[in-house]
């Protein structure tokens, strides 16, 4: 058997593991195994590519193994060390690396393929898509990491962005057309590099105006972009595993992006062109009490008494809980209440945390029983029979304005209907508006009591108070 055939078979196995892995990743019981299977397939594909081809100069092997060692060690360390709350930006960072990799391949492969129309199409496609994905992911990373707070927005940014995109496309077409008709198109490399630079610029401009709340959707979209860039490489090298892996991520990523948008009841175009997340802030923030009511305080000991003597509590965790690193002590509170016969559940909004599923990951980290996390559709009918709702560090996902106020920027977003419960306790650090920057009339509801303070400290005090009872 010749090694080309074996390599092809290995790529086939790789493709199958990617499909199986992705499928298993979409079920909670098998997800971890699925990830492992895809990783094994990837390893086989990488090893096969190195060892089943004609041997090359030692210097090249040295560079190859050196690069894999450097990337592998850094990637491993960063991924192991990062805090769970920083997960979204890390995914964005790694996604950007993949995009940059695809773009670099295209930069290298341009000159050798001058005169070859078929190859140039894929080279330019990989270059443009890869650089947009890279630059966009870096901006998303900086935004989520808190290095870039402002959503800088030029006037008519949509028009400007679309113009840049048109210029990029026109330039790419020109480069492909002129470089494929000649054998001596070396001078055209400059234009290819210009396209490359413009695509990077477009990636920045594309993510810049999008508000932080929409960043997960953007990352998911850029994720599928990188998949497409990898698939373009698959075309170029006639490499099946790159094509299957890339395209599958491209289509699955697009579907996932749409699913995330649905969770927020918004369309993808609205996310990209609507630039919500800060636009609404200027409209409604700082209007004070919309219903004219006043805010009621509650002390830690009163909260403890209330919780100790009720039958059913639903906890609504938000990003604030994670930022305060209060998920562990929250679990302690939950176990303590359970011991005393209180029924405790967690209500998980589809976009709780910073990413769909993010809150589940955070709570699972602190050993909260998987069965206690209830998704929005299933928990909403339960609020009516609930004695106390404890909202920790969440705001927009419980804002009734999403149902009642058509002018609100979050109008139409499905919310947790906590206002149906007998009493509501909201833990917040201050009266500041939530991530979407809008006021919440729930705070002024007569049934609502505010428990101000840092989530971790407040819950720790609560646990201590409960233990004395």
């Amino acid at each position: 058997m010749n090694s080309t055939l074996i390599l092809d078979l290995i790529y086939l196995i790789g493709s199958v593991t990617f499909i199986m892995g992705l499928q298993m990743l979409s079920k909670p019981e098998s997800a971890r195994k699925g990830n492992l299977i895809a990783a094994v397939g990837m390893t086989i594909a990488i090893l096969g590519t190195i060892f089943l081809r004609n041997s090359v100069a030692p210097v090249i092997y040295g560079l190859l193994f050196g690069a894999i060692a450097i990337g592998g060690i850094i990637g491993w360390m960063v991924a192991k060390k990062v805090k769970m709350t920083a997960m979204p930006q890390l995914v964005s960072l790694f996604n950007g690396m993949g995009g940059a990799c695809a773009a670099l391949i295209s930069v290298i492969e341009f000159t050798p393929h001058i005169g070859n129309f078929k190859a140039l199409i894929t080279v330019m496609a990989g270059m443009v898509i890869g650089s947009v994905s890279f630059a966009g992911s870096m901006i998303a990373f900086l935004k989520l990491n808190g290095n870039m707070k402002k959503d800088l927005r030029l006037p008519m940014y949509n028009l400007i962005n679309n113009l840049i995109l048109l210029v990029i496309l026109a330039l790419a077409c020109y480069v492909i057309y002129s470089a494929s008709g000649t054998e001596h198109g070396e001078h055209l490399f400059r234009y290819a590099l210009l396209t490359f630079a413009l695509a990077l610029f477009y990636g920045i401009m594309f993510v810049f105006p999008i508000g932080g709340a929409d960043m997960p959707v953007v990352i998911s979209l850029l994720n599928s972009f990188t998949g497409l860039a990898a698939a373009a490489g698959g075309f170029l090298y006639h490499n099946q595993v790159m094509l299957t892996g890339g395209i599958m991520v491209g289509s699955a990523g697009t579907l996932l992006t749409v699913a995330m948008c649905k969770g927020m009841n918004r369309s993808l175009t609205n996310v990209i062109f609507g630039a919500f997340g800060s636009g609404g802030a200027t409209v409604t923030a700082g209007t004070g009490s919309p219903t004219g009511g006043s805010v009621k305080d509650i002390s830690v000991s009163d909260t403890a008494i209330l919780m100790n003597y009720c039958k059913k509590i639903i906890i609504v965790p938000g990003y604030g809980l994670a930022v305060a690193q209060a998920q562990h002590v929250m679990h302690e509170l939950e176990s303590l209440l359970e011991e005393r016969g209180v029924d405790v559940k967690y209500a998980i909004h589809p976009v709780a945390g910073r990413m769909p599923g993010h809150m589940n990951v955070l709570l699972a980290e602190s050993n909260v029983d998987y069965g206690k996390l209830v998704e929005m559709e299933n928990i909403n009918p339960e609020f009516e029979t609930t004695d106390v709702v404890f909202v920790v560090g969440a705001n927009d996902v419980v804002n009734p304005a999403a149902k009642t106020n058509p002018n609100s920027p979050i109008f139409g977003m499905p919310i947790l209907e906590v206002e149906k419960a007998k009493s509501i306790i909201i833990n917040k650090r201050s009266m500041n508006a939530g991530y979407a920057g809008i006021d919440n009339e729930l705070f002024y509801n007569p049934k609502t009591s505010m428990l101000f303070g840092d989530a971790k400290k407040v819950i720790t005090d609560l646990v201590a108070e409960l233990k004395t009872m």
Partner: protein, 106 residues
């Protein structure tokens, strides 16, 4: 236009795969519960790290005297490895938390 036809002809097999894989990708994750959105995105992120194979091919096919290609290829492989290794490890860390817990004490 003729060139475009030539392109399609040369890549017919790949095109078949492309179209079929689009459907596979959609089908495979169509019933994912929202709790798994983040790990799934992260897992998909690791899988598109397969672009590293392209970066490796660049290096393996490179002329050992062409410094520019060697340097760029080296960087591309580093970036690709970051994507693959980091992606899979992060996904594993997220999913580690979903494993079955011992029954909660009543």
């Amino acid at each position: 236009m003729e060139q475009l036809f030539a392109f399609l002809e040369a890549h017919m097999q790949m095109l078949f795969m492309l179209i079929l894989m689009i459907f596979v990708g959609i089908e495979v994750i169509s019933h994912v519960p929202s709790v798994l959105h983040t790990p799934l995105m992260s897992g998909a992120n690791a899988i598109h790290g397969v672009v590293i194979v392209g970066a490796m091919l660049v290096l393996l096919n490179a002329d050992p005297n062409n410094i520019a290609t060697l340097v760029l290829g080296f960087v591309a492989v580093v970036l690709g490895t970051l994507n693959v290794v980091g992606g899979f490890v992060v996904t594993d860390r997220m999913l580690e938390m979903f494993k079955k817990k011992p029954a909660p004490k009543k």
